[in-house]
């Protein structure tokens, strides 16, 4: 290689040839970078790639076998464990609805601290009626409400403020919820929020928030008294 370098340096013909090759390479390099994708296409592709579900590399027969085992084990133990899996799922979804709503830029569809404005807003939107408590001197403030769905059943989602905490109140028709939810179900302990739930007048109430358990309980009592 050194001999070659030395020759190129000393030979005008070869150095001119080397120079021409380098020039051509450079020219192709510049000219070849010609096309750039549109912003729309770039965005579309990024979404497409990011949206792909994570692939499982487990063989299909293994998945089928695992599914069969889970199904059999589930049916055998459900009698023993009662409705725990369904219960946990419902509470998990309630927690998700609460967090997702508070994270939203428009958490409520009807913005009002007046229960006489919020309650009528749900007319025609959900297939049941419910009462909202009088909050005077209770420390709670109604921020508004929105429609929500749990297990494809429509319901009311109300947001209250206490101190600097937001509390969600969900109201659904009891019969539209999963049958696995017992009448006086106890929320799972692993939830990091304070939760209360009860059934009254054919409706299922959930109160959830990061406020103290006492505050959640106080709001629950106000709702129970109003219903």
């Amino acid at each position: 290689m050194r001999t070659f370098d030395a020759h190129v340096r000393s030979c005008p013909s070869c150095s001119a040839d080397a120079l021409a090759r380098v020039q051509m390479k450079r020219a192709i390099h510049v000219a070849g970078k010609r096309y750039t994708p549109s912003a729309e296409f770039r965005k579309r592709m990024q979404q497409k790639i990011a949206a792909k579900p994570q692939r499982s590399f487990v063989p299909r027969w293994a998945l089928a076998a695992v599914a069969a085992v889970i199904l059999v084990a589930g049916s055998l133990t459900s009698a023993y464990l009662g409705s725990r899996p369904g219960r946990d799922q419902v509470f998990s979804e309630i927690a998700d609805l609460h967090v997702a709503t508070l994270a939203s830029s428009s958490p409520v569809d009807v913005i009002s601290t007046d229960r006489h404005t919020v309650k009528p807003w749900f007319q025609g939107r959900i297939p049941f009626a419910f009462n909202l408590p009088e909050l005077q001197s209770s420390g709670f403030t109604l921020l508004g409400g929105r429609m929500t769905y749990l297990d494809q059943a429509p319901g009311a989602h109300l947001i209250y403020d206490v101190g600097k905490h937001h509390i969600s109140v969900f109201v659904f028709q009891e019969r539209s919820l999963p049958a696995t939810l017992d009448k006086d179900v106890i929320p799972p302990k692993q939830l990091t929020f304070n939760v209360e739930t009860w059934t009254q007048g054919g409706l299922r109430y959930f109160i959830i928030g990061d406020a103290s358990a006492a505050n959640v309980d106080s709001l629950a009592k106000l709702f129970k008294a109003a219903s």
């Binding site: 001119a16 051509m24 192709i28 510049v30 000219a31 096309y35 790639i49 590399f57």
Partner: protein
Amino acid sequence: MHAGENLPPESFEQLAIPHFERLYNFACWLTHDRQEAEDLVQETYVKALKGFPSFQPGTNFRAWIYKILRNTFLTSRTGLKATATVPLDLEGEEEALPTDKETPESILLQRSDEQLVQRALEELPVAYREVLLLCDVEEMSYQEISVTLAVPMGTVMSRLSRARKALRGGLRQQFAKKDEPRMVTYGL
């Protein structure tokens, strides 16, 4: 064990996204049509994602995805048409001919006439165009090009040599066209 089994789930996105713009550029050069290039890139990513489990971690992802794009192009209608009309080059070793000291294209290149180079590239047969783009634009090593094109390294080198020669010929023509005296007709 599958090759991609132990890869973290985000790996495909992390590996694939950085090549997006370059792949699109390469696709445009192959297809000569932006819409077709978009379809080609899209199909490439779909195929790559589908075949990702077979990708060997630690091997060259760039060469792998370019190979998918190229194979997808070659089986497309445009690709079949482009390759069907061009005779296969002789893949034997060939001495690279030294260029003349002062050739029209070297003068042209000194002038950095980008458009003329682009036109000359456009007119090259796809087999020459792709090897030049992979080498000089993508700056792939001969080894990478060999993987991408699925040909031996010797073939890559000889094809590159022929491609450069063809490009010089094309540039000469472009240069001649550019310097042609214009016919001016005067109305009587």
